[in-house]
Every structure is written in C-alpha cells, then in structure tokens.
Symmetry: C2
Subunit: 235 residues, 2 copies
C-alpha cells in the first residue's frame, strides 16, 4: 500500500504505472478487481457484468470486499432494508483514501446507502446518495469537517493508516461505535477502544485472503460457464 | 392513556388510585405487568422472577413490550451483541413519558444498552447505563437538551402523543431514521417521513394485543407449573 504524502513527478509516473499494470490484466482473470471494467462498474454502482441476465456479479477488490463482509457479519447491514440500501442511516468514517482500498470502499459503502466521511491527511470528503437515497449512485462532496469532527459523528470508524505512530484518539469516538482496522499497524489503542466500542475488529487480513479465493473461484466459474455455453452452441 | 398537563389535587388522587388499582392485581394474574413487583423488577433490570433458576421471565407491560418486539424485528437490536446490551450505540428519542408506556419503555431500552432521550412537555431526561455500559442498570439524568435537539440526535424516534395536533417536524429527523408511532393519533406526517426514514411504523396496536395474549399464556404456564410441582411434592 502506498501512502501518498507528496506528489513528485516520480510519484505521478508510479501512479500511472500502477494503473497501467492493473489494466493489463484481463477482466476474466482479474482476481484483484482493479482493472478498468470492474473499477468503472464499482464507482457507478453497476453490479452485474451481464445485464439483464445478471448471472455474473462484478469482481470487487478483496480488501474493500472483506470489510463489506465483516460489516454484514456484524449486522451493520440491516437485512430488513432493500438490497443495495442496507446501510441507510449509518454514518461511516474511513481514515484512508488510497485508490486500492479507501476510495473504492467509500464508494461501495455509499452505494449501499451509508453516509461516508472519507478522511485524508488534507480534508474530509462525503460520499453519499443524498437524502432519502434519492440518487442511484453516490455523489462525492467536499466538506468543511475536520478529521476529529468526522470521527465524532461516525457510527462505524474504519482505519487504514500504514504507520505505527498513528492512533485514533479514543475519546473522540461515539460510545458504542463499531471500530474496524485494516492497516497492518494497529490504528486503535486496543485496551481503550474495547471500553468504548460495541464491536472492535483489530485486523481483517484473513477475510481478505478468503475474498481473494472467492474472486478466483468466481472467475473460474464464469470461464467454465463460457466454455460450456460455447460447446452447447457448437453441438 | 392519561396526559398529565397539570397537577391538581384531583389528579394526584387519580394517580394514586391508578397505582392502588394496579397493585391490587396479583402478580400471578397481572397480564398488564404494572403491579409493583413487575414494575420494580423492570426498573431495576431484574429479568427473572425465580433467580437463580431463571425459568420464569418477568411480565413486561404490553405496549413497551410490543415496541421492543418491533425493534427486534427491524434489527435495531443487534444479535451480535451480548443479550441485555443489544441496543448499545443507539440513541433513541421517546416523545412520551407516561407511567404506563413512555417511562417504562425508556427504562427497558436503556437497560438493553440504548442511550434514551425521554422527551416530555417540560424537559428532556437521559436514561443510560453510562459509557461502555458500565452500570448494570440504567441511570436517569437531567439534560439541557431541547426536544428539537433530542430529535436531531436520534437514530430511532418513538412517539406517543395522544393529540391529533402534534406532529414531529420531519426536517429535524436524521436521514435514515427509524420512526415508530404508538399513539392512536398519527404523530408523523406519513408522506414526508417516508422520504426521510429508513423504516416507518405508523402504529403498533396489533403487536400490543399479541403481547397481551403472550403475557396471559405465560402466566397460565407459570400457574400450571406451580400446580404440577405442588402435585409432585405431594406424591
């Protein structure tokens, strides 16, 4: 994971190269889900590769997908609400806006109905489908919130700062918050946060690995289906 | 339901008479759950009549119990949290503080972990078990909040104002709020609130009737169990 602190020409080249490499991968083999097709579909809340049949779900990047699965498991997604809007009413702060996790995660959760406060070193952006989820996909808006204010408002706080020196100030968190860390560094003070959070997930690596395997199996199934349907046409 | 607007000597007598009549009912037959035993246990978060056996749950007043069941059905109670604290992290405003519904409901929901803002014509009280649910039962605290401020903070708003003239100002509600009305009058503007609430329950009367039947069947089962155990001792 790269932490973009400044923007030198070297860095610009590296970002371009990252994306170039991501796009070289065929969508039929892209277990990481970061090629242009999947990325475009994710940001535009397009959930299937083959509308209107809708037999093939789009591939979602592993780490954001793992966090979605963790949130589903913790019943933050409310199954009484219609599919695609089950985070409606939840405010979620994400401390990380990288292109591989933080930003796609913000888009995914906002598309599912949450009001997402995306906290970066410079500012706080809001990802949201608007009052009453009036928009079909999320919009991104600038805010005047500080990082502290964003944390104070959040029902769920998700951190991914790759530095052992960064710690969330526990006293800012809502009593009964849900705290999830996906950084390899512990971004929460574990002893403190356990006294204040309803649920605390210190790491999600194993779920990420499971999601990578899931994406692999899904793509394998898609390829098999294509082979079978080609055979059926020949026969 | 009585709406206590002023406190004349006539009213004082009536309140005393209400409670006198409630206490005349034997706990073995009190389907309404408002005699002293049940009331005391409810406020003190005592959930069983027969500790440590814990085979006989206390009887809970029908209307508050119906609202608890509605909240469970809507997944506001989070089943991933331990029993007795499944509303942890939720802020719930209750616009009604009557002795038969609003106050016992505030106590029940706070005992289950919620931060309850009890809104009355004169003030807003907070019912809460404290940061990290540190207390075994809820405490009641005075606040300086206005009714409007309480509504703005609430994840769930429960109304029970017995007047057709009272309407919650929809613009105060959180986008994605859960709105529940137990008054026979419609305290929400239905068309407006549907555009702003994740879930809206305009009335709960049928669930209340079901809970009355449940309490009746429960008391019947307790009596049968007592008869059987007396027989077993004689034999």
């Amino acid at each position: 994971m790269i932490y973009y602190q400044s923007c030198s020409s070297h860095l610009v080249h590296r970002i371009q190269q990252d994306q170039y490499l991501q796009n070289i991968v065929s969508p039929a083999k892209d277990v990481e889900g970061l090629c242009h097709t999947y990325r475009y579909n994710m940001y535009h809340n397009v959930r299937f590769l083959d509308p209107p049949t809708n037999a093939k779900k789009c591939i979602i990047p592993c780490t954001p997908l793992a966090i979605v699965k963790v949130l589903e498991h913790l019943h933050i997604y409310n199954p009484m609400l219609p599919y695609g809007g089950r985070l409606y009413g939840k405010t979620i702060a994400i401390v990380n806006r990288s292109e591989v996790v933080g930003r796609p995660l913000a888009a995914l959760l906002a598309n599912d109905g949450a009001r997402v406060l995306s906290v970066d070193i410079g500012d706080v952006l809001e990802f949201h489908r608007g009052t009453g989820l009036q928009h079909r996909q999320h919009q991104v808006m600038e805010t005047t919130l500080t990082a502290d204010e964003a944390l104070r408002q959040a029902d769920v706080v998700i951190t991914g700062v790759p530095s052992p020196n960064y710690k969330v100030d526990t006293s800012l968190l809502k009593d009964g918050v849900v705290a999830i860390n996906f950084s390899s560094a512990r971004n929460f003070n574990g002893d403190e946060v356990k006294k204040r959070a309803a649920m605390y997930v210190p790491s999600i690596g194993k779920v990420t690995v499971a999601m990578l395997q899931r994406n692999l199996l899904r793509l394998y199934a898609y390829q098999r289906a294509d082979v079978e349907s080609a055979k059926a046409k020949q026969a």
